[in-house]
């Protein structure tokens, strides 16, 4: 780990504003979950993916540094849909339950604990979210795993609401799940009312209703998930039904009996960190959801947690491609950063990770990480010129 950090410090991007052009060839290049090149090539230029596979010209200029990665696997930089890192208190607003306009990126410290670890483990972008400490907790933003200031990709990626017990507080309203659901419904009805004054909080809620912002509800047990789904269910007169709102669930570990309803009403599920001690149904839930075409992403506090979750989900039946999509393209789309991250299509940021195996297998190691064309972690010499 120390060597990784040193390597990281040595190759910090600010020392070199223009990354070298790189021509990478490798046994396996995962451009996107549905496009995997075998013995493929990838041209990076100016911090972007300049060409992929057959579109890479046979002759490249002398300025291009060629790297043959042999049997390695190149995947898009990993993306975590939801994390609070270690900012325990900075991301928790507990005194009032209604704080939809808060921005988690304002509590994000790019030099803070855990960010370098994320990068060393191959996570190049993540959604930084408020903690589930109140009901309408606030806005999650999307950031690049980059210690430079200005690494924020989006200030507003999704609105997080929480109806899990830790969002309740006996010192204020709501103290119960009933109260929490009532707060959510009332907030949306008020914001949608024609006479409502324009305030920052109502703008956020209107963006949710118009579908501009995803709405992520943290719900864990079967009951909590069922009530979260009610919000979007026309049959239950849900407050979001009929609007353009996109409902996502965070958690849902106990909802294996609600899989069909999730598939019908939710746009996707962010899986909370999995560990071997969970019930077999909870471990098999990602596979069950993926089988019904529900899009998945992961919540993780560290890259290790992300990879363990993916490995356990695959062990319990999730297809490898779906697991990789849940670590790359799908969270990028959910966070609204898929114009730059999540795949290695032409024109995307040159954020990639080189593994010595399939990242879904826990035995695979990160051997290099490239952020906007700069080698930033792993073996420092591997992607750097000389």
């Amino acid at each position: 780990m120390l060597s990784l950090l040193c390597a990281f410090a040595a190759c910090a991007p600010q020392s070199d504003p223009q990354p070298p052009a790189l021509l990478i060839s490798a046994k396996t290049i995962v451009v996107a979950p549905d496009l995997v090149l075998t013995d493929g090539r990838l041209l990076l230029r100016g911090g972007k993916v300049a060409a992929v596979g057959a579109s890479v010209p046979q002759e490249v200029g002398p300025d291009v540094h060629r790297v043959d990665l042999g049997d390695a696997t190149v995947v898009p930089g990993l993306v975590v849909a939801h994390t609070c890192l270690d900012a325990e208190r900075d991301l928790a607003e507990t005194v009032t339950a209604y704080t939809p306009e808060l921005r988690a990126v304002e509590a994000y410290d790019p030099y803070g604990k855990g960010v370098a670890e994320m990068l060393a483990g191959g996570v190049t972008a993540f959604g930084i979210a408020p903690r589930s400490a109140n009901t309408l907790a606030g806005l999650a933003g999307a950031v690049k795993t980059d210690p430079r200031a200005g690494s924020v990709l989006r200030n507003e990626s999704y609105l997080l609401a929480a109806i899990v017990p830790e969002a309740l507080d006996q010192q204020r309203f709501p103290t119960s799940r009933m109260g929490a659901l009532d707060l959510v419904r009332t907030a949306f009805r008020t914001a949608a009312g024609p006479l409502a004054a324009q305030t920052p909080d109502r703008e956020v809620l209107r963006d949710v209703l118009s579908g501009a912002l995803p709405f992520v509800v943290h719900a864990r047990t079967h009951d909590e998930v069922a009530r979260a789904l009610d919000l979007a269910d026309p049959a239950r007169d849900g407050v979001l039904a009929g609007s353009g709102a996109r409902l996502f669930l965070l958690g849902a570990g106990g909802a294996h009996r609600a899989v069909d309803r999730i598939a019908a009403l939710a746009a996707g599920v962010v899986i909370e960190p999995l560990h071997p001690g969970l019930a077999p149904e909870a471990l098999a839930l990602p596979a069950a959801l993926a089988a019904r075409k529900v899009r998945l992403a992961f919540s993780a506090g560290s890259p290790r947690e992300l990879r363990v979750s993916a490995a356990l989900a695959v062990r319990h039946g999730l297809p490898r491609a779906a697991a990789l999509a849940a670590m790359t393209a799908w969270p990028a789309a959910m966070l609204g950063i898929d114009d730059r991250c999540g795949t290695l299509h032409q024109g995307k940021d040159a954020d990639l990770v080189v593994f010595d195996g399939d990242p879904v297998d826990l035995g695979a190691r990160v051997i290099a990480v490239c952020l906007q064309g700069h080698p930033v972690a792993g073996d420092p010499g591997l992607l750097a010129r000389d």
Partner: protein, 451 residues
């Protein structure tokens, strides 16, 4: 092949003697099943493709690539052409089957086997994880915790392994978090005293045996004398202080002849001391849970001082600070890694322990340590691969090495002719995340079949 201390081999021999299901002299059993799989990973040797395993009488009769092994006629064949066959996994240290309440106050002689809940849900779940044998360590309180139990997976709950199912004597040296090092140091001194007491107990037992032999001789002599005396009455001890002898010998005292000898008093039975005597002789393995550096050093010092030949460190989270000492001491290590980063006393635990032990030739097993993780045993091993452990060594650490450390390597732990037919077949190489368990056989019987 990694270096194994000689006691491992002797321990394996002890295990074989303890549970002889098939005496070597009896005729070879008839084959009753043939497993044909895409790849066989015997662990004791290199893997090979298109393999055949012939089973009979609960044992492995032959293993080899198709063509090299004569196939018996008229025997059912289970063909899993894409399957990977491994020996049934061995979880060296777990709490699967331990009742929630634990075992109360422990002692070196406390047998865990009768207390294991073999019908527990966790026991029934083991075959689905490919585990056919596991070692339950006593969840008792105190430093000396008892004798672990060896449990075998079954189609319907667990079964005890062999007659006694005895695993290792368990000593736990781990102090509470935040304990001052000096206090802990005090706690860690004098660990050898129970062995000294056990030694004097063993001496007392030996002396008693000698005294019994002498008593039998004296009794015969006394009987002779009585018969010769002819009156049928013998002189007893008769002394005022010898009431017991007086009672035994009867009331009427004869004036002449030898004294009737008294049966020597036996030392009271003491399972704890007996267990330690067996540890000292190498008959029972001693497993010492030690996590911090001073705990590990105390364990190594105990092993050296008492010359314990069959010892193993359990946990050893801070082993990275004493790797050379461990390698020199000849003890083995049972690691209980976690999938997520672990901290001890606020400092992260090194992920590279398994790889470092492998590099130094220290035999080590990877165990779940915790029933909730047991079913993810291959993932625990896979996570060590990411930190530099070769894949073959990782598989060995959840099969053959734990069997050797538990003294049951003659019975299980690898796919070799003569061992019990404990086989797990997976859909992909075991350490890969998408490896599904297709079939588990224990003693030649299918106890689990995946979808």
């Amino acid at each position: 092949m990694s270096r194994l201390p000689c006691w491992l081999i002797s321990a394996a021999a002890v295990g074989a003697a303890a549970a002889p299901a098939q005496p070597p002299s009896s005729p070879a059993p008839a084959p009753d099943l043939v497993l044909a799989v895409g790849t066989v990973h015997p662990v004791s040797g290199p893997s090979f493709a298109d393999g055949v395993i012939v089973l009979g009488g609960g044992r492995i009769l032959a293993v080899g690539p198709r063509g090299s092994v004569p196939l018996p006629d008229g025997v059912p064949v289970v063909a899993l052409p894409n399957g990977h066959a491994y020996p049934g996994l061995v979880d060296a240290c777990t709490d699967v089957g331990v009742p929630a309440g634990g075992f109360g106050e422990g002692s070196a002689g406390l047998e865990v086997a009768p207390g294991v809940d073999l019908d527990a849900h966790s026991c029934r779940a083991m075959p689905a994880g490919g585990i056919t044998t596991w070692h339950v360590l006593p969840a008792a309180s105190g430093r000396w915790r008892g004798i672990g139990a060896l449990v075998r997976a079954g189609a319907d709950g667990g079964e005890l392994f062999g007659e006694s199912a005895r695993g290792a004597v368990f000593l736990r040296l781990v102090g509470p978090a935040g304990q001052h090092p000096i206090v802990r140091q005090k706690e860690l001194t004098d660990l050898g005293r129970p062995f000294e007491e056990a030694e004097s107990y063993a001496k007392a037992v030996r002396r008693h045996g000698e005294a019994v032999a002498k008593y039998e001789k004296d009794f015969q002599a006394w009987l002779e004398a009585v018969r010769k005396g002819g009156n049928g009455k013998a002189r007893t001890g008769g002394g005022e202080g010898d009431a017991a002898a007086a009672q035994e010998g009867g009331q009427a005292a004869a004036p002449a002849g030898p004294k009737r000898p008294t049966y020597p008093k036996a030392p009271p039975p003491d399972p704890a001391k007996t267990a330690l005597v067996q540890v000292a002789s190498g008959e029972l393995p001693l497993w010492i849970e030690a996590q911090r550096r001073d705990e590990i050093e105390a364990a190594l010092a105990l092993v050296a001082e008492r010359r314990i030949v069959n010892a193993c460190l359990v946990g050893a989270q801070r082993a990275d600070t004493v790797l050379d000492e461990i390698a020199r001491s000849g003890v083995a290590v049972v690691l209980t890694p976690s999938l997520v980063p672990v901290e001890l006393d606020g400092e992260p635990v090194a992920d590279t322990l398994a790889a470092e032990l492998q590099r130094r030739g220290v035999p080590f097993a990877i165990a779940s340590g915790d029933g909730r993780r047991a079913r993810a045993l291959p993932l625990l091993a896979a996570a060590c691969v990411a930190h530099g452990l070769p894949e073959e060594a990782a598989v060995r650490a959840i099969t053959l090495t734990p069997a050797q450390l538990l003294g049951i390597a003659a019975e299980t732990g690898s796919l070799e002719a003569g061992k019990r037919a404990d086989v797990v077949v997976t859909s992909a190489p075991l350490l890969r995340s998408d490896a599904r368990v297709l079939r588990v056989l224990r003693d030649g019987r299918t106890i689990y079949q995946g979808r």
